[in-house]
Symmetry: C2
Subunit: 209 residues, 2 copies
DNA sequence: AAGATATCTTTACGGCGTCCAGATGCCCAC
DNA sequence: GTGGGCATCTGGACGCCGTAAAGATATCTT
């Protein structure tokens, strides 16, 4: 039954709205930015009434959280690829570059992701959890592969956190116009990002004072 | 006439609203957070009609910009003190700590500051300008005092930018609950901040590979 | 077949940012 | 000093927002 998702994906009276809402949200986000992302606009874009989303999300924040979660998954995938493709010695840098590039290519989504995180005063557990191979663990394990002492837990966590902070700070800063001269002087955005990373001591303290 | 600014600062029909509005905004910000900071709430708090602010600010964004600017000035002052008080060898770290502490002590204000910056896609020129001794220049000059080559302009700017990114990233991240175990393990928030900074190579490349 | 349930619509409320037409008090030219 | 011009403030209105309640409609269970 239910002629179901053809190209146009008509979730008529029943169907998988939730997914349609999230897709609508992403469309609005890319087309008009984060400020245009209202619950009503999402419902409108998905072709339903303004109250319909409330059967799938408790409130607007929960919808935003779901959008953000998709973003985190995309970021995770991106970092996984980066780690796979890079030379062993380059893996840490590649992870950082992948992180920042994702943020730079999806600025609206990245903003939604961190707005949600700041509201919750926490990053999503899938990102930072110890259980699975979260992005956090990817960075940490890479540090071990690079020679960090796996027994020095606190030291490891500090190094991983420092790297994450550096990547996030760079991701937000890199969008500011003030740095365009510097980018040009270095021959583009990517060289700029690499140069900044090179200036940050992202490796764990293996014998540094 | 106009019994004028007694303790309660009654800017009746005339008086310096603008200042009163900014003070009201800051009061709301501290008491109820950034989400409660609406134009109407500010007007209400200042005791004027919802349309009154429009004679002093083009729109809400301009009011927010003005609030943010106050924040940047506070941050500047804070960093100036930190630089003065610290031992020469500690100046750079002290600047970073001062930056992050300000953000942690005024999270709502810090959020307004960077929300405005992200909207404008630029930090305020007073912060980052080359002309006066902006915070940016404070950091850069400190690097020179620490032995960086003042002639290597690009290198200097990279190092300064890297330091700013690190501080901003840490400032936002430090509020997340995930890091509380780590903070406790290190004996508080300040040791945590110092430890993270220690893991970041914030000094310019003087002879590093 | 029928009742229960999940989904969606309609309608409504208060708050928001913003604009416009007046009212109000101040300041300066005469 | 006084009267006109101007900056400032008010009141009311508009359309958008998030959200809630009540009613309609399709699906699922039995």
């Amino acid at each position: 039954m239910r002629e179901s998702q053809t190209a146009e994906a008509r979730p008529y009276h029943h169907g998988d709205l939730r997914r349609a809402l999230l897709e609508a949200a992403r469309r609005i986000l890319e087309a008009e930015g984060p400020t245009a992302l209202s619950l009503r606009a999402v419902a409108r874009e998905a072709g339903v009434s303004p109250a319909a989303p409330y059967h799938h999300f408790k409130d607007k924040a929960e919808l935003l959280d779901a959008v953000a979660e998709q973003g985190w998954e995309m970021l995770d995938k991106r970092m996984a690829e980066a780690k796979l493709e890079a030379e062993p010695r380059d893996k840490l840098n590649s992870l950082g570059i992948a992180y920042v590039c994702f943020a730079r290519e999806n600025p609206a989504l990245y903003r939604v992701m961190y707005d949600a995180a700041r509201d919750n005063e926490a990053l999503p557990e899938e990102m930072v959890g110890d259980n699975e191979d979260s992005p956090y663990c990817k960075v940490r394990d890479t540090m071990i592969e690079l020679g960090a002492d796996p027994a020095a837990r606190t030291e490891l966590e500090l190094a991983t956190t420092a790297a994450w902070c550096a990547a996030h700070g760079l991701a937000e800063m890199a969008g500011f116009r003030q740095f365009e001269p510097l980018k040009e002087a270095l021959g583009g955005e990517l060289p700029f990002l690499r140069a900044i990373f090179a200036h940050m001591g992202l490796f764990p303290h293996v014998g540094r004072t």
